[in-house]
């Protein structure tokens, strides 16, 4: 993977990498990606992909309102609160 591709990919992943960070990761990413290309050697014609090896269906909870008893504990983990609202920098 060249630097431009890596920079584009990092941008999509919301990672800011400086030049030294990019250079350092470029070799590592390229080495693994090259290894991934060995998968092309195996014949997968007419083979269905497996996303989950054992799950055969989807199980869902009942569609009804419920209260979250953990809300206060969860809010305690936020870095910046105003009353019960989490603050972030201004959008504009």
């Amino acid at each position: 993977m060249d630097s431009l591709e890596l920079r584009t990919t990092a941008d999509m992943a919301m990672l800011d990498l400086d030049d030294s960070g990019l250079a350092e990761l470029e070799d590592a990413v390229s080495r693994v990606l090259e290894y991934f290309t060995t998968m092309a050697a195996i014949d997968v014609k007419n083979v269905e992909p497996t996303t989950h090896a054992l799950i055969t269906g989807n199980r869902t909870r009942r569609d009804q309102p419920a209260s979250l008893a953990l809300a206060d504990d969860v809010l305690e983990q936020a870095a910046d609160l105003e009353d019960r609202l989490i603050s972030i920098p201004n959008v504009l």
């Binding site: 693994v32 997968v44 054992l54 969860v74």
Partner: protein
Amino acid sequence: MTDTESLEEYLAFIRHQDRETGSFLEIAVRPGAAGAAGATGDPAEHPAGESPEGSPPPPPRLPLPLAVKDNIAVRGYRLTCGSSMLENLVSPYTATAVERLERAGARVVGKTNLDEFGMGSATENTPLGRTVNPWNHDFVAGGSSGGSAAAVAQQLVPVALGSDTGGSIRQPAAFCGVYGLKPTYGTVSRYGLVAYASSLEVIGVLGADIGTVARTYRLMSGVDGMDHSSVDPPPDGGSPDPVRTVGVLRGDLGLTPEVARNYAETEQVLQARGYRIKPVELTTLEYVVPAYYTIATAEASANLARYNGVRYGYRPDYAENPEELVRKARSEAFGREVKLRILLGTYVLRSGFQDQYYTQAQKIRTLIRRELEQIYREVDVILMPVFPTQAFPRADAEGAPAFARLDEFQQKVADRFTCTANLAALPALTVPTGLARGLPLGMQLMGPAFSEERLFAVAEDLAREMPIQFPRSSISWPEWRAAGGGS
């Protein structure tokens, strides 16, 4: 292990004995850590040993101290995942697996070290702690559940929980010389396990004896309403028959001489105990690692997108706008290996590359499953190496031999014997099988889905000839007390 004095003594024992090994990130018993603090009146949510309505409590079935890998939630404890991103996060809830064990009498005594978000083979990819192999401190404990494996090997706890996405329980178990079970996918609820690669990872057990590992697994397994992928294992494990035939791999497997010799010795022990040995061939073995890392990194890139510095976790000192907040949080708090895997995962999921990488890997996953289904028509379990080498030297160990070192890429490629079970969702169990060069050896038994009980039975048989050993530096809790508690 219930009265306050004993607990304090026990924690002092762990603190003292763990000074050099560094298995734990947190050593503590918290009053609020048992169950979910009685939030709803459900007996399941009361601390072990207490009765919600005055009825006599049931006798504890697992009255043991328990260490928990720090990517598994326990209310009141930190949940760092070995990452600066979550260094100060305190878990507001408890994982189902832990809650079930607490209900059975287990007492959490601390959280163990790991590679950041479970990404690594040495417990070196973390800024939060340094864990070494209890047998030789110049060598790694393995990873990513290296803290749990080292804690058991050092006899700090009889049992510890870990997670296994591509070998993260079995490989450190082999490196430290303890038992390590990766259960069938879905038999143990993932509720409370911080997500890395959701279709591959499971919570499992590391222990000092096979009976305790089996008991722990039985107590924490079963369907859970909080995990849609959880299942009840069938009572007979899918087959009522005992294991008779053991499959073994032949040919050049790329093992070190010590591991190759031990593989042959373990096979001979099984044969001497009456098992029929049958050579099997895994033609998909060379594709296992690229398929595994393609799928694991793709799922990681999606799962770790949630860390954005907004609701919890690391937040930078200053950000001009929300996007800068997210970028700074992720760039400053994730470690190198995590960034590498996020980049790989983002790339293989990009439009135009998906078929070449991600879909191809999923099709290979199908071929691996099919091949194993075929093999399990002829053998009951497969005996396999866990890793091509024994524990390798730590990156910062100056005295260790250069030939034994593995760089980060070689460590990934060496996962070829462990990833198979994750891709196929099968149970696999590391058993200690001896020592060489002063370091432990371990082999794994891999069976069809839900065959845990059959793996335990073979492991018990092996233990008669190949009993677990502990490093000389370790001392058990009863020995510690008898010796006056380190005074």
